[in-house]
């Protein structure tokens, strides 16, 4: 299996296969196929772009921890290519967008798909250039910066287009920022997990600094948990205080009834009330179990939140969701695993 994975071209084949499978699943008729694809797509675009963004951000501010997980983080870039293909699969599904009936200048299917596609591809391209560059050096920083710019735009677009316009004319200006911060948040979580898998539980006598790498990541997660809470609060407070029916509807529809209400609360916990206290103590920041727990809760949080966003408007089919999600997850793990093996061999 391992050996197989490391063969040349296998990865490409795998991705193609997955793409085909997903295509079949989501294009065959039946309710909720598109919804399922959209959900898994939203989650993985966030995580994948987040991982690369994390690496990029680390590189720009030349943080120490980057070195230890950079390669693996960047290895996921091919998935962006796949995602941009999957985006095309959404075309038949666009009709559930409320504006689909009356297209405008901005909200019209071709432009809609077009711009998102372009930015996904751009993200892919910039990510590859960044990955190709050597670890150190100004040049790399510049490339990283470029990626970050694209990343911000692309995530904002996914937020405003794929999610927000589902509730047209509901509007929240913060939505884009909220999304890319969250993606970055997820990116750090993944980095932390990666770090534990690669250099996991080092012996006490291990080279100094490694521990502090982990705690650096923890600090980042900790900081971002506060930041996330801040953004969430800013958004909620504004809507709650203004109490303008059109705005409030978005929240009201999600907290009106079970199970969405519970899930919404769960999101709060998974993304803040668990990671924050968990990582509060200095010692906890370098405790593998705490950190991995926090990281997992963050990733689950993001996933559930995406679900909560879509649920009132979109229908899902559990089966399709299962397949879509599983495929992407496997690929995600596969590429990283393969890269790390490769790294190990070089070492």
């Amino acid at each position: 299996m391992k050996a197989f994975l490391e063969k040349k071209g296998v990865l490409a084949a795998l991705i193609a296969a997955a793409g085909a499978l997903l295509a079949i699943v989501s294009l065959e008729h039946g309710p909720g196929k598109g919804g399922s694809l959209l959900l898994s797509l939203l989650f993985f675009i966030a995580v994948v772009e987040g991982c690369i963004a994390a690496a990029a951000a680390g590189t720009v501010v030349n943080a120490r921890w980057v070195a230890s997980v950079r390669e693996e983080l960047l290895s996921v870039s091919p998935l962006l290519l796949l995602s941009s293909f999957l985006l095309l699969l959404l075309i038949p599904f666009l009709d559930i967008y409320p504006w689909a009936g009356t297209p405008g200048i901005w909200l019209r299917k071709d432009f809609f798909i077009g711009r998102n596609l372009v930015f996904l591809l751009l993200a892919y391209d910039t990510a590859r250039r960044f990955a190709a560059a050597p670890a150190g050096g100004e040049g790399t920083k510049v490339r990283a910066a470029w990626y970050l710019l694209v990343f911000v735009v692309s995530q904002s677009l996914t937020a405003f287009d794929l999610v927000m316009s589902l509730e047209y004319p509901w509007v929240s200006a913060l939505f884009g920022g909220y999304f890319f911060i969250e993606a970055l948040y997820g990116g750090f979580a993944v980095s932390a997990l990666l770090y534990l898998l690669l250099h996991g539980r080092p012996a006490a006598g291990n080279a100094p600094g490694t521990r502090s790498d982990l705690s650096d990541l923890s600090i980042l997660m900790f900081g971002f948990s506060i930041m996330w809470a801040g953004l969430f609060f800013a958004q909620y407070l504004t809507i709650w205080y203004g109490n303008i029916p059109e705005e409030v509807g978005f929240i009201a529809r999600r907290v009106a009834a079970s199970p969405l209400r519970e899930l919404s609360v769960a999101v709060l916990f998974l993304l803040f009330f668990i990671p924050f206290p968990a990582l509060l103590a200095t010692r906890a920041k370098s405790n593998p179990y705490v950190v991995s727990a926090a990281a997992l809760s963050i990733l689950t949080g993001i996933l559930i939140e995406r679900y909560v966003f879509l649920a009132p408007v979109v229908r899902f089919s559990p089966g399709a969701l299962m397949i879509d999600f599983a495929c992407l997850l496997l690929l995600f793990v596969a590429v990283m695993y393969r890269r790390s093996r490769g790294a190990a061999r070089e070492a």
Partner: protein, 431 residues
């Protein structure tokens, strides 16, 4: 050069600033004080005659005063950012700015704090805004953003002051050894009898770390609260979820600009080139660029969504901003805040202090205009068309606003001559 010699040099150079002032300095100080006096006279005049003497009107009930309030609070922020956040990020170049920045924070907050009072219709009962048990047992309305302000800004000021002072304790101890007479006494007392023993240093480092940790969230929270003074309303152009982060970025943006505006001349006048190098300026310039990008992002999103949504009120407000009576302000703002800073992508310009100084002035102007545009355009064209109106300032509010700058610079000039403008101990530590 021998270690002792190096340390001694640091002392000399930094404390050289405290030597007897030159003409230029005195002239500047005199001018600043003059403005400060005008500030207070005009305020008195306003209190006596009623708020009618400022140009405010129905519907534009807030204008220059609130603009300035937001502006000065914003200025304060980068101080905390540089001293606290960069400290946590272990950014070395912070050492050369933090003292100046912290001083700026404190003074800016002093000035900012006055404006809410000035703009009150009945300044003489300002204490109604404080939570105290009055004879009717009626407390303040904690649901009102303005009360959040009282708490946020109050906290911010206190913490910054403590931070500012704590940072100076060892320096007072060092300074007292180089001065004589009354000053010596004052510094000695201010140094609290600091010896520099291991125990003191241990607690001191922990304290500093925690103060930094406490101050950091303030950078975000305070200006978020300020932004909510607007976002909580339902005024089109104010009621936007992005306001909090948008204002925070804007605050740091303008604050960083102000740091540059202050430090460039200070470095020149006090000849601190060895301690404040071009590299340091470059790093600060990067912050400027970065925040400018965020602000621009916010502009794009705001205007974009106003156009995207089907909310005719929002749409009209933003159309009015771009093409209405205040369009020149808007365009200037966009130019100063979004276009000019882009030049900082060029490394050469980032290292050119003269250029940075020029830019920093422009950015200050731009950010001041931003607040003005946000406040005034939104108010003058909100829901009921009958109530639309155009606001024109009068000499009183203009005078008070200009005067506030005088107040600020007066305080700052006094600081430069009387307190260590760089963190002596930290510089030595990093030698």
């Amino acid at each position: 050069m021998a270690a002792a010699e190096k340390y001694a040099k640091v002392d000399r150079d930094v404390l050289a600033a405290m030597k007897r002032p030159g003409r230029a300095y005195l002239a500047g100080l005199a001018f600043a004080v003059l403005l400060a006096v005008m500030f207070h006279l005009l305020w008195a005049y306003q209190v006596r005659s009623g708020l009618g003497v400022v140009g405010k009107m129905h519907p534009v009930m807030w204008a220059l005063y609130i603009t300035n309030f937001v502006f000065w609070v914003g200025i304060a922020h980068s101080g905390t950012l540089i001293s606290a956040v960069l400290f946590l990020f272990r950014a070395r170049y912070r050492t050369s700015f933090n003292r100046a920045a912290e001083a700026m924070t404190v003074f800016a907050l002093m000035v900012a704090g006055m404006f809410p009072l000035i703009h009150l219709g009945r300044s003489w009962v300002f204490y109604y805004l404080l939570p105290y048990p009055n004879q009717r047992q009626l407390w303040v309305n904690f649901r009102s953003p303005l009360v959040w302000d009282v708490f946020a800004v109050g906290t911010y000021f206190t913490v910054s002051l403590v931070f500012f002072y704590v940072g100076m304790i060892p320096d007072f101890a060092a300074a007292k050894q180089h001065v004589l007479g009354v000053r010596k006494k004052i510094y000695t007392v201010l140094s609290l009898g600091w010896q520099g023993t291991q125990k003191e240093w241990r607690h001191y480092n922990m304290l500093y770390l925690f103060l930094a940790a406490f101050a950091t969230p303030l950078v975000a929270s305070v200006h978020s609260v300020v932004s909510w003074d607007f976002a909580m309303s339902i005024v089109p152009g104010w009621h936007t979820t992005i306001f909090a982060p948008y204002f925070v970025a804007g605050a740091i943006f303008s604050g960083t600009a102000m740091v540059i505006t202050l430090v460039v001349p200070m470095r020149k006048y006090l000849s601190l080139h060895e301690y404040i190098t071009d590299d340091h300026f470059e790093s600060i310039a990067k912050i400027l660029l970065f925040t400018s990008l965020i602000v621009s992002y916010a502009y794009i999103v705001e205007f974009g969504l106003a156009w995207y949504g089907e909310n005719i009120f929002e749409r009209e407000t933003f159309r009015y901003r771009l093409l209405g009576d205040y369009r020149y302000f808007t365009w200037t703002m966009l130019f100063c805040n979004s276009v000019v800073p882009l030049t900082l992508f060029a490394r050469r310009l980032r290292r050119n202090t003269a250029y940075l100084f020029a830019i920093s002035i422009l950015v200050n102007v731009g950010m001041w205009l931003e607040r003005f545009v946000i406040i005034v355009t939104s108010l003058s064209h909100d829901y009921d068309p009958y109530a639309w109106g155009i606001y024109k300032p009068t000499f009183v509010c203009l005078g008070v606003d200009i005067g506030s700058f005088g107040l600020f610079f007066a305080l700052y000039l006094l600081f430069v001559k009387n307190l260590p403008v760089l963190s002596i101990s930290e510089i030595k530590e990093h030698l």
